[in-house]
């Protein structure tokens, strides 16, 4: 990302961000509410009100200047290999868990291997195995989050964006969820996890970036490196 700014209407949320995610990297993005973590993820998939600046993904420009058409390019960007598990889940409440997961494997390549990919996701989130036929709208909050994150993992993506996986969940569940996310073998893919709860991520990510008032602070992880991972805290 180079000189990326974005916002909604007259409001500017991100101020000329510059950063790079390398293949195979797992990055934590921490910061308080309202400081731009979600906006940054939305910007990458073109869902903000407007955006400016260059975003290069696998050699292709997916950013650029845009003043309207929120979400119009999103499907194209997603299909080029970016999967997003948005804040607030955005699952399909009337579809079954299995169908929700399958909808994540929407890209041609992933659709053909959807059974295999689903088994892989169920290995990561075993509680979903018993609930495949259940309507997703009737799940508990933690299970919905698993469906949402699992749906993103179904995609054959090179970059996974996971927004606030712990939001609104009981501490025990959120620790397990983040731990599961951090253990996934990414291969040559990369993952960015936005999170308010720094101890959940520390020690589990390759890098931790701080976000404050729409600007990035490089590697806050080092300063807090001594903190034990959350699992040990509890």
């Amino acid at each position: 990302m180079r000189d990326v700014s974005a916002g909604y209407g007259t409001m500017r949320v991100l101020h000329s961000l510059n950063f790079t995610v390398e293949a195979g990297e797992r990055i934590g993005l921490v910061g308080l509410n309202g400081h731009g973590k979600t906006t940054m993820m939305s910007t990458i998939v073109g869902m903000t009100g407007w955006q400016d600046g260059s975003i290069i993904f696998l050699g292709n420009e997916i950013g650029g200047r845009r003043t309207h058409g929120t979400g119009r390019n999103t499907p194209k960007i997603v299909r080029s290999g970016i999967a997003i598990a948005p804040q607030g889940d955005a699952i399909f409440p009337g579809l079954s868990v299995a169908e929700n997961l399958e909808s994540g494997a929407y890209t041609q390549g992933a659709w053909r291997q959807r059974k295999k990919r689903r088994d892989a996701v169920l290995d990561i989130f075993p509680p979903l195995s018993d609930r495949l036929k259940q309507t997703a709208g009737t799940l508990s909050g933690g299970e919905r989050r698993m469906v949402s994150v699992g749906r993103a993992l179904m995609a054959d993506a090179k970059l996974y964006l996971v927004d606030e996986p712990s939001l609104g969940l009981a501490p025990k569940i959120s620790i397990a969820l983040v731990a599961a996310l951090c253990q996934i073998d990414l291969g040559d893919g990369a993952m960015v996890i936005a999170e308010q709860n720094l101890p959940l991520l520390s020690g589990r990510c390759d890098r931790i970036l701080g976000m404050h008032a729409g600007e990035l602070k490089e590697d806050v992880g080092e300063a807090l490196g001594d903190l034990p991972p959350a699992a040990e805290l509890s």
């Binding site: 998939v45 869902m47 309207h68 058409g69 929120t70 979400g71 119009r72 999103t74 499907p75 194209k76 997603v78 299909r79 999967a83 997003i84 948005p86 889940d89 955005a90 699952i91 399909f92 409440p93 009337g94 579809l95 169908e99 399958e102 909808s103 994540g104 929407y106 890209t107 659709w111 309507t135 709208g137 009737t138 749906r151 995609a155």
Partner: protein, 299 residues
């Protein structure tokens, strides 16, 4: 009694085909398509023009080719008309503010202008279509049933079955259902609202085109022949529960029965009263309609 049942099912098939189209469009792209009547009529005229053309080329004319051709051309013309509506009313407007209202007005405009266009192009007279299933009747006991009626019911049931199955199992079907539930979520898994919307409009169009050809078995093609199916289709899609195919089918059968029974035992002019009264009653007790796909869902 059996005759009543058959005429009710014929009405139900026709209304069902139109209503499924309206229901799919409404629930997946959020557009109340008032131009569906225009699409319906376009299908009828497409089939009519095809018959005229076949009449001039007698040498390739055999009964079965004509029959299949009329249905296919009717569906194709209506699907194209559906895409045309999408091109004018959906693609330029869908991500602007107040799309539901703007879309409503745009499709209303297409509907009104379309009707005038048909009058200019084809004249106000009724045009007949050939009897696809012959004019013979068969008998159940003492009751005579036209093959045309049976054919209409069978074809409509078959097509509705195929659409339901396709919605349940295919990738495109999944993406359409995903869009009904959560358009933003669908966007985020890579489902293009624009492409899916156009596909939905084409399918809805094709279904209406089929209904149009079927209706012309008993009535005629005329510039206004889409008006009544549109109105009834709208209220059926509401009564059935937006986006629910089984609900829509159930509502069509119910309204078809109501219409056939009212017309037989009282006066034809009372039909709209009974239909609307029935739909209001359904919605009073089940606000999400009979099918209510969102019924067992926690928002």
């Amino acid at each position: 009694m059996i005759e009543l049942l058959f005429s009710a099912l014929v009405l139900a098939s026709m209304y069902g085909l139109v209503a499924i189209g309206i229901s799919l469009t409404w629930s997946s792209i959020g557009m109340l398509n008032l131009a569906q009547g225009f699409v319906f009529t376009a299908g009828g005229y497409g089939a009519y023009e095809f018959v005229q053309w076949m009449g001039k080329h007698q040498h390739i004319h055999t009964g079965n080719v004509l029959m299949v051709g009329v249905v296919l051309v009717g569906m194709l013309t209506a699907a194209l008309a559906g895409l045309f509506v999408g091109l004018l009313a959906f693609l330029p407007l869908h991500d602007r503010v107040n799309f539901p209202v703007r879309g409503l007005i745009a499709t209303l405009a297409i509907s009104v202008i379309g009707t005038q266009l048909f009058i200019i192009l084809f004249g106000p007279q009724n045009k007949p279509l050939p009897q696809l299933f012959g004019i013979k009747r068969f008998h159940i006991g003492t009751h005579g049933i036209a093959y045309g009626q049976l054919g209409t019911i069978v074809v409509a049931a078959l097509v509705m079955g195929i659409v339901t199955f396709w919605m349940r199992t295919s990738r495109r079907g999944l993406q359409m259902r995903a869009m009904m539930m959560n358009p933003i979520g669908a966007n985020m898994v890579g489902v293009s609202v624009r492409t899916t919307g156009m596909v939905t409009l084409a399918i809805s169009g094709a279904l209406s085109g089929l209904a149009s050809v079927m209706l012309a078995q008993t009535f005629f093609v005329s510039p206004r022949s889409g008006v009544s199916p549109l109105t009834v289709g709208l209220i059926i899609s509401l009564a059935g529960g937006l986006g629910s195919l089984p609900g829509t089918v159930a509502a069509s059968v119910l309204l078809g029965l109501a219409e056939a029974a009212t017309a037989r035992y009282t006066k034809q002019s009372l039909v709209p009263f009974v239909q609307f009264g029935l739909v209001i009653a359904i919605l009073a007790f089940r606000p999400r309609g009979l099918g209510g796909v969102l019924e067992d869902v926690r928002e």
